[in-house]
Amino acid sequence: MSDAYAHPNYVKIWYWLLGLLALSVVGPMLEIPTLTIITAFGIAIVKSYLVAAYFMHLKFEKKLIWFLLILSICLLGVFFFGTAPDLMMTDGDQWIDCIADKSCVEQRL
């Protein structure tokens, strides 16, 4: 069951990953919020691409697998955008803890 593809130079990919890791740690130290988001998550995406494409051999894998993974992430996006309008509207300030509030405990059967 040996697949005929040449192994990429894994150590080189690893150097790239370490470099990106260093960048993502250094980026936030500049304390620019936008830059933090870009370095933190942009680099996470680049890193994950490198790992997926080379270490996981996705680059040499059938398109089917790409389709599968991208579809999963798209569905998560659907979930995010369907849920976001509701969770972003929380008030939270009208809350009374019923267990602490004796008057409504007495109402119980």
């Binding site: 929380t90 019923c98 109402q107 119980r108």
Partner: protein, 259 residues
């Protein structure tokens, strides 16, 4: 069709009933058509000796049109339903008309508290009137409600108003209704809320202006007799046990009660 079972006592009850009727007509048509064809085909094409079934792949246009054309008609009717539905929905849930009065509804395990805004029309002022399990409303006024829950999810449901809204702990949900008929109606909790969910009811009484004022005065001077208690008192021994249910309920009566 819904009015036959439940009175319609709010301004938008009619809209919902009409939408229900529209959908009934549309899907009734489809249901009878499809069901009729299904039954017809089963009877028409029962196995007969020597008759071989046709070979139809259902891939050519001349064949698929028999499923595609009805299918386009389904799409057209879907669009009608969606359009009418959104009109009604925007009216009853999405927009709040200017209010005449305000009431806060608080659900908790397992009772309802109502805070009526009083003459000044504002909550959290001195003239607020609080009641438990008794909601009093003035005929023809547009009410806004602030719905809250103290513990778990509840649902503020008044079938006669065609009104249902979940009460979610941690948030205040606003909505509106406008009673158009006097009388006393059931208020239910229509969301599972634990052990006592089955008894979590209340009474909604819609008053004329004078009767409303007398009731409010009674509540404030302590001479008020709960409408909810009164209603429950007269109903406690309804078909609560089998002895009360007529033993000779005939099949015909049962059927008649359905239709």
């Amino acid at each position: 069709m819904i009015e036959y079972f439940v009175q319609s006592a709010s301004s938008y009850a009619g809209d919902i009933d009409n939408l229900f009727l529209l959908i009934t007509l549309i899907i009734g048509f489809w249901f009878i058509l499809t069901f009729g064809i299904l039954v017809y085909l089963i009877i028409r094409f029962r196995r007969k000796d020597g008759v071989k079934a046709k070979y139809i792949a259902g891939e050519k246009h001349s064949e698929t049109k028999w499923t595609h054309y009805p299918h386009y008609a389904v799409i057209a009717m879907d669009v009608v339903i969606i359009a009418v539905n959104i009109l009604v929905w925007v009216n009853i849930k999405q927009t709040l008309p200017p209010r005449d009065n305000l009431v806060r509804v608080i659900g908790q395990q397992w009772s309802w508290s109502f805070i009526h805004a009083g003459p000044d029309g504002e909550l959290d002022t001195k003239d607020d009137v609080s009641t438990t399990n008794d909601l009093h409303l003035k005929l023809g006024e547009t009410y806004h409600f602030e719905l809250q829950s103290r513990d778990v999810l509840h649902n503020f449901a008044v079938p006669a108003f065609r009104l249902r809204q979940d009460a979610v702990p941690g948030r205040t949900i606003s909505g509106w209704f406008k009673p158009t008929k006097t009388g006393t109606f059931d208020l239910q909790c229509a969301e599972m809320c634990g052990y006592g969910h089955g008894i979590m009811g209340a009474a909604v009484t819609v008053h004329s202006a004078e009767s409303y004022d007398t009731t409010m005065a009674q509540i404030q001077n302590g001479t008020y007799e709960s409408h909810y208690q009164k209603r429950m008192g007269t109903k406690t021994d309804l078909p609560s046990n089998t002895s009360q249910v007529d033993d000779e309920v005939s099949f015909a009566v049962l059927l008649a009660s359905i239709f």
